[in-house]
């Protein structure tokens, strides 16, 4: 029986974490300000009160320490979930993530599992200062041994966080911080899709839009606007950035013949490129136009008063759709 609730993405994550902690006593949370404060975005609100200071650990202010000690906890048999406070603060932990978290299973020939989730609020649009609005997902998707996912809506937030925690793979879990407060229906009775699957969120026939994280909402809005212009856009939420689930994308492109890929991260060596290349390989004879990219620019993330110009928006997505039809 379906049980649905209307929740924000933030609250859905909170509920998902709570349920994972109830289900498995080995699940522990580590991060800065995640205890009494409940995290700077309140994603862990109330968890320390209910699960205690041993399971919701306010750590010293050191990201390499958060991830490095979580590796040790995992070797000890725990399932650690690390909260990185902001995207731009993950880099001190980069060595531990890339050299240790990603490689321990490989190094040990399968004898050591690091069932760790590294939660990172990512992306811009909140009017923040430097280092608080970045999209570093490509760094991690490039690293073998890590799996990388991004949720875009409350239902996925609720289920994907639980599935990530239950997975024995180390997972970098990106949360669309500017969407934390957006509400949606959450079906708490059953997950609708496997963790590492892309999902068609809106069916269409004329062009395919692929996005993930915060750009999914933007793409869905663009599809609604395009409909008024008489264009039917199919919107696919990648959800899993590594590995990519390309089958739904191929299927869609074979139908529409046009693909626009959208993300906030800069274009150079980004996820867009890694969608374009295999689509060109697998759907070459179906394509009516080159695969087009709508991304942030190849600059550092700018000052917040101009971030709305930097970030892809509905108009830039529609502009790319127009250009696709112009070929």
């Amino acid at each position: 029986m379906a049980a649905t609730e209307t929740l924000t993405i933030g609250k859905a994550l909170n509920n998902g974490l709570r349920r994972a902690m109830e289900d498995d006593a080995k699940v522990v949370l580590l991060g800065e300000d995640i205890g009494k404060l409940g995290g700077v975005f309140r994603i862990t609100d109330g968890l320390q009160k209910d699960f205690g200071e041993q399971r919701v650990i306010d750590t010293p202010l050191a990201e390499a320490g958060i991830v490095g000690t979580a590796v040790g906890l995992a070797i000890r048999g725990y399932r650690p979930i690390c909260e990185i406070q902001f995207d731009g603060f993950v880099y001190p932990a980069y060595d531990q993530i890339v050299c240790q978290v990603a490689k321990m299973h490989y190094r040990s020939q399968g004898k050591v599992k690091i069932p760790m989730v590294i939660r990172i609020p990512f992306g811009g649009g909140i009017g923040a200062v430097e280092h608080h609005s970045e999209s570093p997902e490509a760094y991690f998707a490039h690293t073998a041994g890590l799996k990388v996912v991004a949720c875009s809506n409350p239902n996925d937030a609720y289920w994907m966080i639980q599935e990530a925690i239950a997975s024995d793979d180390p997972i970098v879990f990106f949360e669309p911080k500017r969407r934390y407060w957006e509400k949606g229906e959450v079906d708490t009775s059953a997950s609708r899709a496997p963790l590492h699957s892309a999902q068609v969120l809106r069916a269409g026939t004329d062009a395919t839009i692929v996005a993930y994280g915060p750009m999914v909402r933007t793409s869905l809005d663009a599809a609604i606007a395009a409909e008024e212009d008489g264009r039917s856009l199919e919107v696919i939420d990648l959800r899993s950035l590594s590995p990519l689930d390309m089958a739904p994308v191929y299927e869609s492109v074979r139908k529409t013949g046009r693909l626009v890929v959208v993300h906030e991260a800069p274009s150079n060596i980004g996820l867009c490129a890694d969608n374009a290349a295999p689509v060109t390989e697998k759907c070459f004879y179906s394509l009516e136009a080159p695969v087009l990219r709508v991304t942030g620019f190849d600059t550092p993330y700018p000052a917040s008063r101009v971030e709305e110009e930097f970030l892809p928006d509905l108009d830039r997505v529609l502009d790319a759709v127009d250009r696709s039809f112009g070929f």
């Binding site: 320490g65 490095g68 000890r76 040990s108 020939q109 069932p115 793979d169 590594s242």
Partner: protein, 378 residues
Amino acid sequence: MAKRKIAPSLAGGGDAAPEPEMVQLLTPEGDRVDHPEYTVDFTDEQYRDLYQDLVVVRRLDAESTALQRQGELGIWASLLGQEAAQVGSGRALRPQDMAFPTYREHGVLYCRGIDPIMPLSLFRGVDQGGWDPNEFKFNMYTIVIGAQTLHATGYAMGVTMDGKVGTDDGEAVIAYFGDGATSQGDVNEAFIWSSVFNAPMVFFCQNNQYAISEPLERQTRVPLYQRAAGFGFPGIRVDGNDVLATYAVTRSALDHARHGQGPTLIEAYTYRMGAHTTSDDPTRYRIASEVDAWQAKDPIKRLRAFLTKQKIADDTFFDEVDEKARLDAVDLRERVLSMPDPKPTEFFDHVYPNGSPLVDEQRETFSRYLETFAGEAH
């Protein structure tokens, strides 16, 4: 038995700098000295066992260096000169204790009762050195400098969370690292975390005076053990070429940790007699007289002198130990030479516990590609 005061000795002569103050129970000349806090109470047999450990560990290390020179290992990180630091601390571990090594802790590995062949596949290039840390209570070798100190600290936090501290059979965790690693952020973060979470940790720093070519002066302006004070736990320096003192100090720190008394930093003052690895050339950055001075403080020579003076062992015993070490080395060599190379497509294995369609696809494509060469001579 000749007894001496605790005063810092000026052993070695030559170009040796005056030895710093440190816990010593056995002088370079093989004389037993007392310390107000630390002592050992070994039977004659235990003394002889320690000697055998030192000799076997050195012999296996020499064999591995030779295997590298003959092209059978890709690289080797020798522990020559550091046998006492490793055997003393390794023998101090209780069965339930967990060790997090660097890539040089072959002596600790041996003292854990682990087959010394285990890390050789890593150095031969057959695999990445994969074993189950929990099976051996000995983590995989870690190559990134200092990274394992955080793993050890997290593991130790888990020990506390499991309620396994505070009793005689509590668990302690030891992290090995070198003088160079003390400059790493990870190591300093591990100090902080262990301190604030009161983790059952022993930080065992083998100060072998060099980080590849860089001398200690490039890492620190204070004695390394004194850094512990700033982090809020005890630090102590021990003569790392003295197996008895190293054992006593490490055993005490481990027991301290297992009883819930928190971390300790041990600086084992020693010297890397050989190269950093077989790829290194230490003649470019240090003088022979310095090496000679440390040669006079050799950890094996001093224990042998002690055993002889105390009539705990005689030449027959020493010869037997040499013969055992030789046979162990022969066995190690034969098993290294017979290690099979992995199959080419094995590098696709174990990337993820749950697998990956991307890796699966690449394995399949590459296998088909390789099959196109079937029958051709390579």
